[in-house]
Symmetry: D2
Subunit: 410 residues, 4 copies
């Protein structure tokens, strides 16, 4: 047992921390200004992100997430383990609107790239994975539906029906993150090809270019008032008799559920890694604030309750980070299936921990904390969705509990 990062990780951490200081943090006010510019075309990605991408790529800080290169040629990914990537993802979480896209490590593209690398055909890889790895286009993952509890995949109502050489897609999706962004060219859509098959063989995934006739991007959904323009929002999308070639199906018919499961494990850990970085940033902001702010004759930092928050925040972050790191290590050593309990555990624990810390950081900032003048409120809103995205905590807890019960009872 050894709690130190290996040399490769340390070297990359050093470069990434330098990149954060030199490029990312200074770009935060630039991003805010570009987003606030009334002349901006709605939903377009602010220019500063493109500049950061170029800078990151030039420094080899590119596609670090791409753990398993699946036989792809060398430049497309750093070839890190999950355990090596985790501390880097955490650092990107310290500026979560800028650093992940700058490094081409932002959701949902990361999960989509992994999915295409693992399950895509050669043609699919060439057409969609390559430009994604190059950061030329963006993508979305269309699973959640407004009308059903999508945490239970058997509820999915979108239909994908074979008609000759084509598939025809009909359905309504929402909270399709990134899909408001005009750079988002391709949607991975989950739907049912065979509603009469066994429960977990009914679903398939299919690639639908965003400009296919019949695809209507209805509106942007908001998250506690935030449209999330910086990362392409969250679209409601209507699919009406959308026709794509049969070759756009990913894998085989009926494999959608299995592919979704494969995609979600890494997706969850990426979110959790970044969320630890969010928490560290929030704690830092809180510490700076309470030292500067004076009320009733002394800095807030001298208030016992504020000190209690700070101590609790540190204690909780340390525990959460270690569990994320161990989960990454398990994924590397025994695979995603072997890490199932731990992946669920961090999905349950990390967002709740980070929410608590963000709440206290908001409180320490007073009105500024809920405003557009600090990142805290928006970070809170983004983190809050992690408690329900990709299955609410309650579903994961029930599943984890059942395994625990089984473990004790043979």
């Amino acid at each position: 047992m050894d709690f130190s990062y290996d040399a490769r990780t340390e070297e990359l951490r050093g470069r990434l921390l330098a990149f954060m200081d030199e490029f990312v943090y200074p770009a935060e006010p630039v991003l805010a200004a570009q987003l606030a510019d009334p002349a901006r075309e709605p939903w377009t990605v602010p220019a500063v992100i493109g500049e950061l991408k170029a800078a990151a790529r030039a420094r080899g800080l590119w596609n670090l997430f791409f753990v398993d290169k699946h036989g792809l040629p060398g430049e497309e990914g750093a070839g890190l383990t999950n355990l090596q990537y985790a501390p880097l993802a955490e650092i990107t979480g310290r500026s979560v609107l800028l650093a992940p896209p700058a490094l081409n490590c932002a959701a949902p593209d990361t999960g989509n790239m992994e999915l295409l690398a693992q399950f895509g055909s050669e043609e699919q890889k060439k057409q969609w994975l390559e430009p994604l790895l190059a950061g030329e286009i963006r993508s979305a993952f269309a699973m959640t539906e407004p009308d059903v509890a999508s945490s239970d995949a058997t509820n999915i109502t979108t239909r994908i029906e074979r008609d000759g050489d084509e598939y025809v897609v009909n359905g309504r999706k929402w909270y399709i993150t990134g899909a408001m962004n005009p750079d988002c060219r391709i949607l991975i859509v989950m739907g049912k090809t065979d509603p009469d098959a066994p429960a977990h063989r009914q679903q398939s995934m299919i690639l639908v270019p965003r400009d296919t006739p019949g695809v209507t991007v209805v509106r942007g959904m908001t998250v506690f008032g935030y449209p999330d323009e910086d990362h392409g929002g969250h679209a409601e999308i209507l699919f009406e008799d959308v026709r794509v070639p049969a070759g756009h199906l990913i894998g085989e018919e009926g494999s959608g559920f299995a592919i979704a499961q494969a995609r979600l494990g890494p997706g969850r850990i990426h979110h959790c890694m970044r969320a630890i970085g969010v928490a560290e940033r929030a704690l830092e902001l809180m510490c700076r604030r309470v030292v500067e702010r004076v009320a009733f004759g002394r800095p807030l930092a001298e208030q016992g309750v504020v000190q209690d928050w700070i101590a609790e925040a540190r204690v909780r972050i340390e525990q959460a980070r270690l569990l994320v790191l161990k989960t990454a290590w398990l994924m590397d050593t025994v695979g995603n299936r072997g890490a199932h309990t731990e992946i669920q555990a961090i999905k349950i624990a990390v967002p709740a921990t980070v929410e608590w810390i963000l709440d206290k950081a908001v409180q320490a900032h007073g009105a500024a904390g809920v405003s557009q003048d600090t990142a805290l409120a928006q970070l809170w809103a983004g983190n809050r969705t992690l408690r329900l995205a990709d299955g609410p905590d309650e579903v994961h807890k029930r599943s984890l509990a059942r395994r625990e019960l089984k473990r004790h009872l043979g």
Copy 2:
């Protein structure tokens, strides 16, 4: 001891509940549509609110908050006690964006009207209180400043300086609720007239018409992404050499702190009353949702964890409501000063309780809960500010604790 509402309250509750059913709930989607209309002039009040005001006034559901009429002629207020008003305010909280303004019972006007009635000169009453009571104009209360911890009024940096027959105001305020609204004609500004006076005699309040030269409404502040367009937003306002006649000063120089204290008690209880209504609405929405939503083969309503939330919500609401009602009764019977502990207690307890319930209601709604398609996320954001507006919980707890310690040890 008697826990039943009196006849006058019951009669008004009946009329108000009917008004909610007939006018207010049906107007909710209308409000949403009017707010979403791209052709709308920014910050203007949607037309539906004016229609509701007319309907409410016609039914005698007008200025119910106006507990002490301070010798004003008969029509300006219902002449209710706090205890009679409380259950009515709760009902308005069930549709908190619509019902309070419809009844001319919305913050910050309510507090401002009370303040003018109690401390305003006859001329001030004529010029500002009368049109406020008539619902013709709206107002704002400019106390919070971005640069200091405003919960400690001695921190206020805005200056109000006498210059001949005028006062000159200089300073920067923010989160001035309602002040983005063009119907907001008058600002009550807190500032220091004498920084060398004893700590609680330095401040004064002065009336500043919003269109006075030197007043710049800089921008709308957001609350967790919400601009709160429906009720005039939250302005940042710059005061640069703003000159108003000396007669605009409220009360005498040095009385600002005392006036603020007098204003805040009723303001806090009004917020808490409405917040109970918010919680009831959230619980109702949660109950309806979980019965309809099916996951893993059964309605969410049959999940033990969801039932636990519902029971906890009911138990917490009942306790919180009773404390609010008792506080109202104390204000009526022993005055705001005698109810000081209870006013602080509800300020501490109610927003936290309501936040917990809203959080669970959001969770039960999944993605819809954080979206613009239910009221929950916006209600959450509005309620969250109550934990820090008008003094963060921590300040009130410390103060309450000190009185408790004194009580045992005096």
Copy 3:
């Protein structure tokens, strides 16, 4: 609506508070000394309690709990309403080991007396109720069984079988509070007379004198290490072919479940009333402690975290008390059935609130808090059992939630 106590209540509160000051608090160290005396006969009631009983009875502070006198002659009860009794019960909770037995208002006798008054035959009343009302004997209520989840009364396995003019009782009970006490002469035993009847008509209650052949008091159960010698402990009792006359059955065969329900409502509210008093005492002890105790150069009372506890404690007590009082009022005005939700609500809310406060009081006392030198640890242990006695919180929450769901959806 009126939050003031009526004149009768105020008058009794005055007398009771004086009695507490004059008799009860001074007797606390006497009780501790008598319990610690190695020469004491195990399980006997310390003499000081008898002395207090005489003093209380002489002052008319006797059987105050006995709300409905059920036509009994005048002296046996104060004839108070639940709402009048509640604030008195709270006061007794401030010295919960001494005051309730002193006033003949201690569980489980109170519930047993109510039960006999309501459902007992004339002969049963004469034989058992009269000496109980006179404080000459004590009683126990034997419902909980070690082998089944007794919150679900259909699980009860004890058998009560008719055999000629007698009933024969067989079964094992535990946590039969008070039954270690040699003054405990009579047990009310719940068992099944007809296992084949509908689920809620299988049970009956029967009177079993503690000295009946076949009754074995096996041992005293402990509560977090406390044998609770002062109030007769908690017995495990074995019933082996215990024969009692048929006339010992209470009510008719099959009425046991209904009688239990009738008994539990008032029992729950009595516990909650006293628990509020426990919380007040704990808060007072905490306040005194933190003012006296100095660490790192200043009294604990100046620590922000300690102040936070004190404020929270006050805020929570106020809410909990009001809900208890409202529940009492509902029981008086609409009956136990009409107060069902509120009775469950206080059963859920009050012990949890009081536990939180006791925990903080313990913490503020350091090692003394967990020791025999303050009452806090024992109070904590006693209060902890309220979260599971008479149905665990989880059962009550589920039931309450179902009613809430029905209310919204009916």
Copy 4:
């Protein structure tokens, strides 16, 4: 970074787990019976513990805690690192009344042995350390005083005064764990040798044989009703003109504070390691219980709320264990001082986590959970003291917060 135990740890874990199965768990009912035997001499150690000691020693499971052998000859300790010992200590926590003393790894002897090894003179080691390492005698650590907040060592009032070739000790200590046990032969007493020295140079430690004239063991203090007879209880001890040779002073005059600091770090981590084992045992008991217990027609294990507890317990244990392990690793790699933040963090986090889990396990067991028939209530009480022993959480949080603030702002 590597989360797998090394080979030495795995080998020892295997042997220890086998020892638990073969010897320790079967001895649990034996211990209970021996403790309950009315013929037992009070405070003597039950015979079963001696038998387990012999068995453990024969299997090389002896003094595993003794990380740094400080040049002592080979057999006296396993020579493990903290990181190697931690998972073994956790396993002993699964039967915390039996396994730690069986392996000669029980507090307070462990800390006392470390202290003597590190700071004792050769003669002190010979006289006291050797029989302690051999498990022939036991010891106690007398620091806490009833009259002062002992978390602030400058408060200590016990005097240690030089008088010729002797020191004279006067003072009162309490909660001196183990000191009721007649096998406890030696007390390490903290007191002030020079009240006029700088704050952290006033204290010294001295060895006082328990049978020295002037030492009065006044009484056993209880912990929530438990006298903790199995491990020598918690004594109140009066020191009246107790004379010991000058050579009994440990280290030099004025070094007491520094020695205490050195002792507490490892002491805290040992407690936390074992507490993780306690939590695992509680979770296992809870899982077994809820599967067997049926209420309202189905096993408790199918209740959503119970599943929520189980999942939360697992998630919390995993996080807590990792933080303990990392702390052990830091102590090994950068020393106790370098691990200061983490030692405080686990001191704060682990007892609270374990308390939460024990509470839920108690609740799942109903009345049995608070009784003497399961270990849960006693485990809860023992764990509860960890939140205040050796400095209450609040003191550690404040200290940790100050370092965090400094880190961000230095």
